[in-house]
């Protein structure tokens, strides 16, 4: 099914497109594919556009090789450009959106930010996921961790936010 290997992905602004450089499995010959985002404007919904590309009968097999968070990032960069943002500013903004800060409270961020952070976390989730079709899959996985030889996490030491009640 994965007969292609994506080497690189990027964007083209005119017309708005996602570009991939890939080669067929077992071959070293590089190919390039440009996949336009149809009727994409500065107000288009990013996830919808990404999903459309993924389900496109011609482009789907290439697009589905890119992680969701990377695809969303690319589409966001295109939309930022349509909104008049410089590439530099857009890259900086997108780096910020893709960064997971262990101290950042995600309960209070806007919808776009939360979705982006979730997409980044989903990449790790999927990487470690043991799916039911995996020979290693077990429904009930029980692991008893050694509770004796443990170190303090250090997350309890900061009294300032540990509210007593």
């Amino acid at each position: 099914m994965d007969e292609i290997e994506i080497q690189k992905c990027g964007v083209k602004f005119d017309p708005p497109s996602i570009v991939v450089v890939y080669n067929d499995k077992g071959s070293t010959k590089k190919r390039r594919r440009t996949m336009p985002l149809r009727e994409f404007t500065k107000t288009s919904n990013i996830e919808v556009a990404a999903e459309e590309l993924k389900t496109n009968p011609r482009h789907g097999k290439y697009v589905s090789q890119i992680t969701k968070h990377q695809l969303i990032r690319l589409v966001t960069i295109i939309r930022d450009k349509l909104n008049g943002m410089s590439l530099e500013a857009s890259l900086a903004r997108n780096d910020e959106l893709d960064k997971i800060d262990p101290e950042e409270n995600l309960n209070t961020v806007d919808e776009e930010t939360l979705k982006r952070k979730k997409a980044v976390m989903d990449t790790t989730f999927t990487k470690h996921q043991v799916r039911p079709d995996d020979p290693k899959f077990q429904y009930d996985v029980q692991v008893a961790f050694d509770e004796e030889n443990v170190m303090e996490s250090g997350w309890d030491s900061d009294k300032s936010s540990d509210m007593e009640f």
Binding site: I100, P102, E103, E104, N105, L106, N107, T108, L114, K117, K118, M121, T124, F125, T126, H128, Q129, V130, P132, F137, Q138, Y139, D140, V141, Q142, V143, F145, D146, E147, E148, N149, V150, M151, E152, S153, G154, W155, D156, D158, S161, D162, M163, F165
Partner: protein
């Protein structure tokens, strides 16, 4: 039967089953939905309650030979408004409190979630779980004091690779049924295990002298059910 289309957990199920409600609490993106999905696996379609932004997962099981209908309630992102609609807590029989081992802020917010829970449900059993241990298993060699401090069972889990997910939910269901049946036996059993561990480590750290405050840990038991509120 139910107001606003919400299930009523005081009623028995259509076949006389015991009905319990289990809620999940914790910050955005700690993996609450993914945990429930891992426990239920594919094929379970959540039910959306139109009245409030809530997601409900139904599950059928048996506890000690009795049929039980479990509803797992998921926040559907409502935690983003920093507190949950009271209907989320209404009639809940157990709570699973989740934090993300890769994000300290989600641990630091645990006291707030517990405080809000206790405002609505002062006595229901509450379990604590540390999710996303698959990101770095070394986290399981660390101690997190919150659960012990609040006398809760604690689980290291991963919704991604499945570690301890089924055990945690099975314990939560047993605790919910025990609470509903006005019995604290199951929670007592879990707490005894925890206290045993606490005594051992205390004596180890103080060279055999057990700390007097933990040698009679039942005195401050604060989760005894005193009213029949559901």
């Amino acid at each position: 039967m139910a107001k606003n289309g919400e299930p009523d957990y005081d009623q028995l199920g259509d076949e006389g089953e015991c009905k319990v409600k289990i809620i999940c609490l914790g910050d955005s993106a700690v993996g609450k939905s993914k945990l429930v999905e891992r426990f239920l696996m594919d094929g379970y379609k959540p039910q959306q309650l139109s009245t409030y932004a809530l997601t409900l997962f139904n599950y059928k099981t048996e506890v000690n030979g009795t049929k039980v209908l479990v509803d797992f309630w998921d926040t559907a992102g409502q935690e983003r408004f920093n507190n949950m609609h009271p209907s989320y807590y209404h009639q809940a029989h157990a709570c699973i409190l989740v934090f993300d081992t890769t994000r300290k802020v989600t641990y630091k917010n645990m006291p707030q979630w517990l405080k809000e829970l206790r405002e609505y449900r002062p006595e229901i059993p509450c379990l604590c779980c540390a999710n996303k241990i698959d990101v770095d298993y070394n986290v399981t060699k660390k101690s997190f004091g919150f659960a012990k401090k609040h006398r809760m069972p604690f689980y290291f889990v991963s919704a991604s690779d499945g570690t301890n997910v089924v055990k945690m939910f099975t314990d939560a269901i047993r605790a919910a049924v025990a609470y509903k049946n006005d019995s604290t036996d199951f929670m007592d059993e879990i707490m005894r295990e925890l206290e045993h561990f606490e005594l051992e480590t205390n004596s180890k750290r103080s060279n055999g002298k057990a700390d007097s405050s933990s040698s009679s840990p039942r005195d401050d038991k604060n989760d005894t059910k005193s009213s029949n509120d559901s």
